[in-house]
């Protein structure tokens, strides 16, 4: 981002802020009332009444839902001063379903304030990195909870401000920035306790950055105490509810949370597993709840990219990593796991994703320039071309007919509305007629809303891709597909490499036997392997389920029981099948690679007294990586398009996790159906296939780029 001129950068920041504001006002206008919104609006009404009465002592008396500190609620109260007064909303339990009929002007005013702080949070992040700001702006989960009357948007803003002020202090050593950081931290804690984890992150980073000498540590201790003390003072000052009885009321609210997390009905009913935060971040798309409000939800993709940007973010400033790790650790341990808590992490996640994308962008740009700098010898190519011709011609004809023609036809289909209604026309050349006419301008494109009805194929154009992209992102399928590929390939490579290393030494007993056994899953057709695993794991009829019936629910692997109902556990089960089927291939690739490493290298390492881990980390792994890459890419493509496992899995449980290839097949298949349309949508399936191709090509490019970067790191 450094090569951007300041003006361009400013423009980008402004554009991102405008985007964030418009997205948040849009969601604020459209979203239905959520749990707790009615409660916080009631609290705001009370504060508005206090302000109107002019007797501000009321601030010390009121704090509806006292378990949460009052600042955000007070600010919502101020927002109500300009709108007509209504009767106080009724006092309802936390588990009561939300009251959809909130007074409209009040709801609007309060949500506007929330959206404003939401946009401010984006603005702060955009100042640091415009791309990160953009990603946070389009993050649907953050967008939802920072434009509703929730307690998220104010502390999300102040906590980010606190961290940014601290990083300023680190670079410039001006105590003013430290004080700013403390003030914002205090305000954060007065809005919602949870967001104060950034305070812990700052402390951790501070200690980490302090040289470990006695004078430095003493200085750190003194400053940190001052910083913490100031934050505490701000917390008390901004929290009038605590003034009459500070310790008692503080203890009440803190104990409430401990009790709530273990006893509340709604918490128990949901019964989220400890890893639910990961499910919220990587597997869930808010679009599933509000398909009409959100489109193009990229949250899971952003999270996935964030994983790739961690090292770059660490180099930028470790405090963001501390923020992510400490925040995540807290969410994993804390028994209550509402989705809105993820807003604590979305700012550093967006930053990390932006770092990853920025890194790839720069790298690919450099590759491109390098590739163009190389000159090709054309005469040599032409002479070789004549000799190659006889070899090319026979294969080329069939290749063109069998694979090239389908590719072009798929693209043509994807621009039309070809489906089972227009099947006769399409099969008799209607697709070519329409696409040729459409692309040459002889036929006018039909608007997408009036298509899909006719018995003749009609040309729509590239517009067909928009609803497909919207669907695969908003439903979270694309995010799942990428996460699936990422996890499955890592596991397969890990186990395959592990098995190959275990079997490497020729003196291992029964070496051939183990090898033959481990290849077995690869020889078993994928469909069959999937059926076998579901026979083991299905809760109703599987071996595991039957074992639980016989020996009680405390058997090993009992956490997989009822996996059909939990997306996290479903993913785990699917990964078990996929790993079983896929690791032998990686084992073979790894053994083939290991054989190519000269034994002398290891002898030399042994003489130098290297440990097993050192040998692996500094010799085997760097030498093996380039040899493993092609296998990893082949595996990655295969796993991304994994079909048979998912198709069979639908017979054993009805869940929404699927790959694009499976989706495409079921949309295509006239006997199956999906996608909210009748089955036999050939054109939509073709569009999906084109997108799959595009995604995989990008994936291959990024991956080769990333692995090159990895090699560079190893050389350094």
């Amino acid at each position: 981002m450094k090569n951007f001129s300041p003006a361009l950068r400013l423009l980008a920041v402004l554009a991102v802020i405008a985007l964030a504001w418009s997205l948040r006002t849009n969601t604020a206008a459209k979203l239905p009332v959520d749990y707790d919104e009615d409660d916080y609006l009631r609290a705001a009404q009370e504060y508005a009444a206090v302000f109107r009465s002019g007797d501000l002592r009321g601030l010390m008396e009121f704090n509806y839902r006292p378990e949460h500190p009052p600042l955000a609620k007070i600010i919502y109260g101020i927002s109500l001063l300009n709108v007509p007064v209504t009767t106080l909303l009724p006092d309802r339990g936390t588990s009561a379903s939300p009251d959809q009929f909130l007074p409209l002007p009040q709801k609007k005013a309060a949500r506007a304030v929330a959206a404003a702080f939401g946009a401010l949070e984006v603005a702060l992040l955009a100042l640091l990195n415009p791309l990160a700001g953009f990603l946070l702006a389009i993050n649907a989960l953050t967008g939802k909870y920072t434009s509703q009357i929730m307690l998220e948007s104010l502390p999300a803003f102040t906590s980010l401000a606190s961290v940014l002020a601290y990083t300023r202090y680190k670079r410039q050593a001006q105590k003013g920035w430290l004080a700013t950081s403390a003030i914002f931290l205090g305000l954060t804690a007065t809005s919602k306790y949870l967001y104060a984890v950034v305070g812990v992150a700052i402390l951790a980073d501070w200690l980490f950055a302090t040289p470990k000498t006695l004078p430095d540590l003493k200085r750190f201790l003194r400053l940190a105490l001052l910083w913490g003390g100031l934050a505490l003072l701000v917390f008390l000052a901004a929290n009038p509810y605590l003034w009459p009885n500070p310790l008692g009321r503080l203890a009440d609210s803190l104990f409430y949370h401990a009790k709530y997390s273990t006893t509340a009905v709604e918490v128990e009913q949901n019964n989220f597993p400890f890893y639910q935060p990961f499910v919220w971040i990587f597997l869930f798309s808010v679009g599933q709840w509000h398909p009409d409000v959100f489109s193009f939800v990229l949250d899971p993709l952003i999270a996935l990219f964030a994983c790739l940007g961690l090292t770059r973010m660490w180099k930028r400033d470790p405090v963001y990593i501390f923020w992510l790790v400490i925040g995540m650790a807290f969410l994993l341990v804390w028994p209550t796991k509402w989705p809105q808590y993820m807003v604590v992490l979305t700012a550093p996640l967006s930053l990390s994703a932006a770092e990853a994308i920025g890194g790839f962008g720069v790298g690919i740009w450099k590759d491109w320039q390098q590739a163009h700098a190389q000159k090709v010898n054309h005469t040599l190519e032409r002479r070789d071309g004549r000799r190659a011709l006889p070899w090319l011609i026979p294969g080329l004809i069939f290749f063109a007919a069998l694979t090239l023609y389908p590719l072009i036809f798929q693209f043509a289909m994807s621009l039309t509305d070809f489906n089972s209604t227009s099947i006769m026309d399409g099969l008799k050349g209607g697709v070519w007629r329409e696409v040729w006419g459409g692309l040459t301008g002889q036929i006018k494109a039909t608007p997408i809303d009036s298509a899909y009805q006719d018995r003749a194929v009609t040309f729509i154009g590239a517009e067909t891709y928009l609803p497909i992209l919207d669907y695969i992102t908003t439903s979270g399928i694309l995010g799942f597909n990428l996460l699936w590929t990422f996890l499955s390939v890592i596991l397969q490579t890990g186990l395959g490499l592990g098995a190959a290393l275990l079997l490497w030494n020729q003196r291992v007993a029964f070496r051939r036997g183990w090898q033959a056994l481990f290849i077995l899953p690869w020889a078993i057709p994928e469909t069959i392997g999937a059926i076998m695993w579901f026979t083991v794991l299905s809760t109703a009829t599987g071996w595991l389920g039957l074992a639980a019936q016989k020996y009680g629910e405390t058997i090993p692997f009992s956490f997989l029981l009822n996996w059909e109902r939990n997306p996290g556990a479903t993913l785990l089960v699917l990964l078990i099948c996929s790993l079983w089927y896929g690791f032998p291939f990686m084992m073979l690739a790894a053994s083939a690679g290991l054989k190519l490493i000269p034994a002398e290298v290891f002898d030399a390492a042994a003489i130098d007294g290297a440990s097993v881990w050192q040998v692996f980390r500094h010799i085997s792994w760097p030498l093996l990586l380039p040899l493993l890459l092609p296998a990893v890419i082949v595996r990655g493509i295969f796993v991304f398009n994994q079909f048979y496992l998912f198709q069979v899995s639908q017979m054993y449980g009805n869940f929404s996790l699927t790959t694009l290839a499976t989706l495409s097949y079921n949309i295509f298949n006239p006997a199956a159906g999906g996608f909210g349309r009748p089955a036999g949508e050939f054109a939509i399936s073709a569009g999906l296939n084109m997108l799959t191709m595009l995604i995989l090509v990008i994936f291959v490019v990024i991956f080769t780029r990333w692995s090159k970067a990895g090699e560079g790191l190893n050389d350094a």
Partner: protein
Amino acid sequence: MRKLTRWQQLGRQILLALIGLYVLIPIWITLRLAFDGALIGRPTEFRLFPKQFSFEPLLRVLDRPYQSVEFLSLLKNSLLVSFGAAILAMLLGASLAYAFARFRFPGRQAGLFLLLLMAVLPPVAFMTPLYIVLSALGIRTTLWALVIVYAAFAMPFCIWNMRAAFQAVPKEVEEAAYLDGAGYLTTFAFITLPLALPSIAVAALIAFLMAYSEFALGWLFVEKASTVTLAMSIYSIVQTGNAQPWSQLGSLTLVISAPVVIIFILFQRTLLERLTFGAASD
């Protein structure tokens, strides 16, 4: 190679046994179901071994596993389609692969990129276009249609793999043959091809396996019971849900896996030594 101490050996064996257990569990459960004569419908209790050991489900599967279609007919269809697809993909792909491996012709990079595009397409992408071509040829509902579809599906991968195999043959060997007066074709047929053959066989095996386990495209083409393959039949049995006869399903999975497993075990040495994984530099 370094000698292993007794503890190192033991540790390795324990880890290997754990992986072995992971590999064996689903196979064992399938065996237990396949040979349980007492099982009617779905399993209702946890067992490690069959309640009543019997070959009956296996024999029933070997007779008529799917509706009234005979097992031998299914097997014949499966083998015909899989061998056909593998051989077709090899025959058509070999010359292209050789050209990509040996010559630097204009458009080579573009061709390789195109090959990658084909390889990343999901299988269903081949469906409509080939449906139209095969209908025009009048062979859409025959087994030949399946052979062609599966060959098209496997071809990009086969070309990719064979190209690596040809590249692995040292150029010097070919040049020596030219110097001795052999033509291009002679060199290819008598020098390069035999040297690359084991790797090509592996690619063929993978193409075979792709076709052997395919059911989804098959069901979109096939209309008559006489052209159903084994993989297609097992999928339609699974589709019936819990009503499926579980012990027969177990037997059928065994019977389907057995031929491939035997081939793999026979080819194990080649697999371990010759698989190149497309690891040719480019």
